[in-house]
Symmetry: C2
Subunit: 223 residues, 2 copies
């Protein structure tokens, strides 16, 4: 993270919120926080005129989103030629209102638009893969064997600028607590949804007596 203040999220026709504007955030630190809280995004590309949405892992720096995949992957082959949309969503709770109509979901969502750049510089490629690896599996870059030359060549790494991005955050209780439906006497509130890491499951091929390293065990029960 840079130590200088970061510019506000840029407005573009695409990222300007059409509805529920009160949920929109313009502070770049909100984008950083949403991206830092996950490791899986949904990558949207246009293929033969139709949308295709695929889940994939990502790694975020202050100004770049890194995406990767096999060279053979259709979406990544298509992506460098055109605009993509990358969406990262965290569901925080169900909002259970007095009326079905007022039910909703509390969530944090980041959307990033841009034309990805295929990373070919060896140094940036290794650094991008490190960022991507550490986002999903912190500590593994130092613990596991790093990519060799052949593996690097077999990996497509895309860099997407975070210049055109929007963040929406929805939080709080149902909104019908002061309306006529409050008279119905029904319970209303939020049902939180948590993501939690479970106990590590050893590879059956492991020799006996090898325990999981502390950087993995430390994640259990947390997100």
């Amino acid at each position: 993270m840079p130590e200088t203040p970061r510019p506000a999220l840029s407005g573009s026709d695409r990222t300007r919120l059409r509805r529920l504007r009160e949920n929109g955030r313009t502070d770049r630190s909100e984008l950083d926080a949403v991206l830092a809280a996950g490791f899986l995004c949904h990558l949207g590309v246009v293929l033969d005129g139709a949308p295709m949405v695929v889940p994939t892992v990502y790694g975020a720096t202050a100004d770049t989103l890194y995406l990767h995949g096999s060279v053979a992957s259709r979406s990544l082959v298509a992506a460098p030629e055109a605009t993509v949309c990358v969406t990262v969503t965290h569901v925080d709770s169900l909002v259970l209102a007095r009326s079905v109509f007022e039910h909703s979901v509390n969530y944090r969502c980041a959307m990033v638009y841009g034309v990805p750049r295929q990373v070919t510089d060896a140094e940036e490629k290794l650094e991008g893969l490190r960022v991507l690896s550490e986002q999903a599996a912190p500590g593994q870059w130092d613990y596991a064997r790093r990519p060799d030359r052949k593996e690097l060549a077999a990996t497509t790494l895309l860099a997407l600028s975070l210049d055109e991005a929007s963040v929406k955050i929805s939080a709080g209780p149902p909104e019908d607590g002061d309306g006529p439906d409050a008279e119905l006497g029904l319970w209303a509130g939020e049902l939180p949804l948590h993501q939690v890491w479970g106990e590590p499951v050893p590879d059956p091929a492991l020799p006996p007596g090898l325990s999981a390293p502390s950087h993995i065990v430390a994640r259990v029960g947390r997100i």
Copy 2:
């Protein structure tokens, strides 16, 4: 669910898997299971030639996916005119291998392509909204106040056929347990990721002494 055997998932050029074919499933019950396990999808549409991927809730029957949103929502206004791609993803675990290159994610993913139909029939609209509501918040359709005529008119409901769909499921330990990297003596395995419902948080506007109904409390600690 129908009691007759369901046809296999249809192949189309889009849904045919280009890579990791061993992860592909053709049994329609696998699609049912992936869709039944969630309530949030990522809807991809093409808008002004660019992809847009937005998170939204869905409800699934044996042959139809229902999506809804405000009439004002851009994505749903655009969607009825063209093909959409709806993707539902569940992350089950991180696959921590001996090499960074072999790291991956175990997941279940369904992708559905089609041109959605806007539901205008009042009876189907109500039934679709019930399916959608019960998928995210089972029990609330009977507990909360159902949509009135005005609310129904303000809701856009889209129906997407499940005819063109694919399912990918990735499971199991890392794949480098019998390769040269096994000699490195590193721990390898899976780190499971669980989604768990937390304790209900009452709306601060509730009168004192009103407790959450049993169909909500019963979900706590489960997914």
